[in-house]
Symmetry: C2
Subunit: 297 residues, 2 copies
């Protein structure tokens, strides 16, 4: 098959060391590699940040999933565990002819109620087709686009044009949730089956895709000293992907004050109350809901 699109697939887990779903799916597949076998490509499971996993933290020195920028990957001096590790993954997945891959899935979990989310880092037609297929066959699958033309991203998935991240939740850091573990595993098998079917000419083009386009982030209410002054309002908690209308509550402060959404029209918040985003100053991400027609190829 000389014209195959995909020869090698990487499934990456534990890019954040305290997101156990990906870590233990990788360990399961390392124990039972036959589960990943398909006729038209090879699949390699990779534990991305073993040092962070060993201490059950997101990262040791810096967030590995913000290291994939040319200035980090190509700098002469490398400082810090994740900077070194990002360069290793860059070489393995992208530049070394013996190991490079054509498709990358990067497995994450979140404390936000994100269900099964695909995170696009580009709008490559193949990724849009696959996302459309997965969300049509399993309506629980949602598609979030972090891609913004002209802006460079630093996620692991930017190493490869094809593929995306999978974000599942709500799951507390440092824990496994069997139900979401099983749903994630089933989703990955559906993806591998699609890739295999595609390469055998057995897929039918999808015609439309609904996705949630990243716009900006919203921080928590803070004191002048930069400390939290409030939390996600009970009415917003867990309402990822539900419309937030003008006048709806967003935050509740220690002094009992409710802060309302004052934008001009409804938006769709996601990553609401993600633990790792407290330090990044993100209470939630604001998205627009969009439906596009897909070109049949």
């Amino acid at each position: 098959m000389p014209d195959r699109l995909i020869h090698r697939v990487a499934i990456v887990g534990g890019t954040h060391g305290n997101e156990f779903t990906g870590v233990y799916l990788i360990k399961k597949w390392q124990m039972c590699p036959a589960l990943l076998q398909r006729d038209t490509f090879a699949t390699i499971p990779i534990l991305a940040n073993p040092a962070a996993f060993a201490v059950t933290r997101r990262y040791v020195d810096t967030d590995l999933n913000r290291c994939f920028r040319p200035e980090v990957l190509q700098q002469a001096e490398v400082a810090g565990y994740e900077a070194v590790r990002s360069r290793e993954l860059y070489q393995t997945l992208k530049t070394d002819a013996a190991t490079r891959v054509d498709f990358v899935l990067d497995l994450h979990s979140t404390t936000a109620n994100m269900g099964l989310t695909l995170i696009l880092v580009n709008h490559h037609p193949f990724n849009l087709q696959l996302a459309a297929y997965l969300s049509r066959v399993n309506p629980a699958v949602r598609v979030y686009s972090a891609y913004q033309p002209g802006q460079s991203l630093a996620f692991l998935n930017t190493l490869c044009e094809l593929g995306f991240a999978i974000e599942v939740g709500a799951i507390a850091q440092g824990t496994l949730q069997a139900s979401l573990f099983q749903q994630t595993e089933a989703l990955i098998h559906m993806i591998l089956d699609y890739l295999d079917a595609y390469q055998q000419g057995q897929t039918v083009p999808e015609t439309r895709l609904t996705f949630y386009q990243h716009r900006h982030t919203v921080d928590y209410p803070k004191t002048q000293a930069g400390e939290l002054l409030g939390m996600i309002h009970p009415q917003l908690q867990g309402q990822d992907y539900q419309p937030l209308h003008p006048g709806n509550p967003m935050f509740l402060t220690w002094t009992g004050e409710t802060r309302y959404y004052e934008g001009p029209s409804a938006v769709y918040p996601i990553f609401i109350n993600e633990a790792a985003y407290y330090e990044k100053g993100i209470a939630f991400c604001v998205t627009d809901r969009q439906t596009i027609e897909l070109e049949s190829k």
Copy 2:
């Protein structure tokens, strides 16, 4: 009132630095101290482990809530942040006449579905009365006894005969959940109001108490190398305080095997899938459900 039982109350939060409910209740009360004022005693809010909170971890060197043993508190050489901090808290709360307290509430959160749980470290009649009152007035309140005659505990609450820990969940580490934050706050006000009413002779003795008595812990399935081989079974996940009957599933392994409970009779698992207990080798705690008659004093 020379015969008051309680002159000073300590409410302690952030004994584990990534359990934000307690941390931010303390910060709220430091900002609004009038909320804690009652007629017959003073209440002091204390942030127990500020260094662990600063890095959003349970602890820096060792689990502070396992440091309150005589051999740690009275050793000549003190090594590690939490060992030093446990000695400071021991002096502040127990030995220094100017600051010592008569009643301690220690605020915790858990990734397990524990709702609002009181954790008793002894069976002092006053604690049993208060626990009975709280669980009668608010049926969502459950009482767990970690006390076992002849065994010494190392929890912060052992500094004081009166009082107990409050454990709320499910809450992911490093996050706030507004609804449980509000329920915890309301529970604490109910406790302070009870103490105040008691000292004014306005409480009525309770006659019975249902509680869950700690028996032992159960570890996850592990490989020979000590790695996780499975996770809490979907049917057990979130079922804290529900009976686990012989033949009910407990674990699901990577190889797809279900492990069943094989004990002789029903038990009541709690702390199911608590993140911090993975490293302690605890998948859940096994308890018996008991109802006792209380002596009227």
